[in-house]
Amino acid sequence: MSADGLPRRVVLTGLLVLSLAAIAVSCLAGSAPLSLGETLTGFFASGEDPVAIIVREIRLPRVLTAFLVGAALGASGALLQGLLRNPLADPGVLGVSASAALGAVIAIYFNLALISAFVVPVFAVGFAGLAIIVLYLAGAARLSAVQLILVGVGLSSFAGALTALAMNLSANPFSLSDMVTWLLGSVANRSYADIAFAAPFWIAGAGLAVFALPGLRALALGEDTAVTLGADLGRTRLLVIASSALLTGAAVAVAGTIGFVGIVAPHLVRPLVRHDPADLVAPSALLAGLLLVLADTGLRVMPFAQELKLGVAAALVGAPVFIWIAARSRSIGR
């Protein structure tokens, strides 16, 4: 890739077109064999048509969920990387997703979800926010890339242990199977209602992210210099913490924990945007959404008796890439 990168508009338009194409193609895949023509008709047929129901009510919501969850995690990863000045930051790796899952599990275990379906995303977002604050208080921005990952591993294990504790205490086997789903993320059988519950949080998170971006650019030169350049560091911190908590929390509330996409997408996008930490965020969101749509499509066409969970597939692909980036990151000056 040329060192010049590409104009921002070209990157965004290109990724948007590819994403829409992937979403459309993904609607062709599934256990019911539908041809291209049938799928297209399904989009526009009347509501009673069985093909229309499969395409519009089963496949499309699932594909859209995969895209939006991926986009939320990709943006969240890029934001955290900018704030912590660390290419290995990612909501999954740092334990933010695991903490969000803990919040969701607690909401379900204590039957709080019966009050309102919004309780689950609210708890997930709240716990994600707590996790990011804990990371920040642990001095995450001053730690080396590797130290930060170790803190994240600790936080992740802690949240995982508390989740397991909640599962042990659960008397209800139905909620136990629910909880397993939180730990191995999936977008199977999601409906428009699931998207609707997460949407307000995602919209708020994306809105806040916009205001955090300039500060991330200044932070590339370290905190002291960023302040003297004219960045409002306190505000940038608060915006990134709130925005990535909203994005990650709502994503986990809808799909459970799906790791690594928040680290792989920004890594691939960075050369296209001249490594600018602010320009990185939007294309990372699009690419991460695209990657999850492709991964989920792959799961649906694979001939396994039981469908693999999306979180498992993301880790199978993402973890080796993560290790590769980690091994190379020593050369990135800190």
Partner: protein, 250 residues
């Protein structure tokens, strides 16, 4: 009128008194060198002046206002700062790093600056003899090359005050000379320049005024030859000139 000042500033860092009752002010068009042995409090002095460290006693002023009351973006237009440690987190292009110097005016990468902004970035790079580094990323530069990019980033900010912590360290002799000449030129163009400098002879040569800091206190604040008199140099730095003119420990 002074463009920046410290009023009876004392600062404790942990248990040590890093600054002890420091009074200071700098005018437009003045090049002030801040010298002192390791640990004398030079970096703390600069950070308090910029509002990066809140003093335990006294206060700092920029442009007549107390520094902690100035909004971040406005403060970024009043003073430009080159810290001693200069981390770079991403493989940024040289011109994008320099463009960050204009963050408080139009925080954008080089390619999205207006024509005037781009021209000022390019001329700052030419000023520090780094025009040939355009298109390189910071991770691939030598220490001295990177230091010059940071110097360009410092001066591309049109702020009335430039604050530099050891701008000449990590540079070879030619570029040391050029870095200090660049700061001198900025002072001659009417900006205030405050630079912590290790080399006493460079301070003597380029500055209008030298502030000698010793264990947190201002030991001298005068024209270079007065502030760097043999007595003061011997007392503060523990060195004196031998018969060949070199400084040696006494």
């Amino acid at each position: 009128m002074s463009i920046a000042a410290l009023h009876l500033v004392s600062t404790r860092l942990g248990t040590t008194l890093a600054l002890d009752g420091v009074d200071f002010s700098i005018e437009a068009g003045e090049f002030v060198a801040l010298v002192g042995p390791n640990g004398a409090g030079k970096s703390t002095f600069l950070k308090v002046l910029l509002g990066l460290i809140e003093p335990n006693e006294g206060h700092a002023e920029l442009g007549g206002s107390r520094v902690e009351t100035i909004a971040p973006r406005i403060r970024g237009r009043m003073a430009s700062y080159l810290p001693q440690s200069r981390p770079i987190s991403w493989r940024l292009d040289v011109r994008d790093v320099v463009a960050l110097g204009r963050f408080a005016w139009n925080g954008a990468p080089y390619r999205r600056l207006n024509e005037g902004g781009r021209a000022s970035v390019d001329s700052a790079l030419a000023e520090v003899d780094a025009a040939h580094l355009v298109g390189r990323d910071m991770a691939g530069l030598s220490g001295g090359e990177a230091a010059r990019i940071h110097l360009a980033r410092l001066i591309v900010n049109p702020a009335p005050l430039l604050v530099a912590d050891e701008p000449a360290s990590a540079l070879d002799l030619k570029h040391q000379y050029e870095a200090l000449r660049t700061l001198r030129r900025e002072a001659d163009r009417g900006r205030g320049v405050l630079a912590a400098i290790h080399d006493l002879e460079s301070a003597r040569r380029w500055a209008d005024r030298v502030v000698v800091l010793d264990r947190g206190q201002v030991r001298a604040d005068a024209r270079p030859n007065t502030a760097l008199s043999p007595d003061i140099v011997r007392e503060v730095f523990g060195v004196a000139r031998d018969e060949t003119g070199h400084y040696v420990p006494v």
